[in-house]
Subunit: 208 residues, 2 copies
């Protein structure tokens, strides 16, 4: 399993410093949506510059104008870009076509995607599907059980990620379960007293 | 009926120049999602600076972290900010709470929102609900018929907007129909040979 560490809601200077410090300490460095919307492509460029080892994911959360947004994000340095599963099939197909043509990776964020919609968008073979529990939602979920249930319903989907308040215990349980390719962690690492140490704990904790 | 003119997929310099030229020639100036994602809050600030008459809408397309994204957009100068109807109810409630507290306006983009979901999110009384046909979708729609059908199903929703390839003939028909508060026009104005003249034609065409 791979660790993706999400940087969000900080200044660009702090984001770049944190990205530089986390480079190589996390498999994937996520530039969160707040940085996309606060700073635009400049933030992708600046973070790209300080990464030598970690892969860069840009959490664009594209929901329309798929080709344009994906082309821009890749052009400025992203390796992986996210689109919303809630987008139309045609938008997702446009994002996927750009990703495949550039030998890059699309991640599909399944926030608020119900089972019916999921069936309609399950055929992007190389895409990573990210189970996602909104930070704004008041109800909580059991991550391991959610993953098992999803896998049972959609066994054809080979690449899975999960996001939403994941802690070290949950990450370890997910690693043991063996169905998830990427566990996405945000504040549990970046808002820790010692972010590098926290990332290292997660990286060690998810090795099986 | 009010005209909202959307600026998208141009450089920040071109966007600012176009916004300055369109100020007062369109009721609402929309800073499109491409400008949000390409330039971030800087674009809101720069466009705000050149507007003296038109209202500024920022097409943030917020789908998570509602309070943060809305606070940021208002802080940098937006009068109206968009959230996706596809977001969770809790995210929309967070966006609405920020908007109401600051005496600003939320627009809910109904892209890919089905009837079942629409019933769940129909209670934001002061919000503007925007019917939206994705530019990525291959199928076309009859706008006047779509609006009539929506109004019949959701008569309690008082504030309606519509977006997606609207031309002058459609805009005039919508004005005559009298159900829409805001018609949103993009390339039919901004990519016209004479954008100001095109905006003026729309503004005159929708007066009833």
């Amino acid at each position: 399993m791979n660790l993706q560490t999400a940087i969000d809601r900080v200044s660009l200077e702090e984001a770049v410093a944190l990205a530089a410090a986390l480079d190589g300490k996390t498999d994937i460095l996520e530039m969160g949506t707040s940085l996309v919307k606060d700073y635009g492509n400049l933030a992708i460029e600046k973070i790209r510059e300080v990464l030598t080892t970690s892969t860069l994911l840009v959490d664009s959360k594209t929901i329309d104008e798929g080709a344009y947004e994906f082309q821009q994000a890749y052009r400025f340095g992203a390796d992986i870009v996210t689109a919303m599963g809630a987008a139309s099939y045609d938008t997702l197909a446009a994002c996927y076509a750009v990703s495949q043509a550039q030998d890059k990776t699309m991640m599909i964020d399944l926030l608020e995607v119900n089972e019916e919609k999921m069936h309609q968008i399950a055929d992007f073979e190389q895409a990573i599907y990210a189970l996602h529990h909104s930070v704004d939602r008041k109800d909580k979920q059991d991550t391991v059980a959610s993953v098992a249930e999803f896998h049972q319903k959609f066994p054809q989907i080979k690449r899975l990620a999960i996001a939403g308040g994941i802690d070290l215990t949950q990450a370890q349980a997910l690693a043991k379960q063996g169905l998830i390719e990427i566990v996405i962690v945000g504040s549990k690492i970046t808002k820790a007293a010692e972010p590098i140490q926290a990332a290292t704990q997660f990286m060690e904790g998810i090795q099986s």
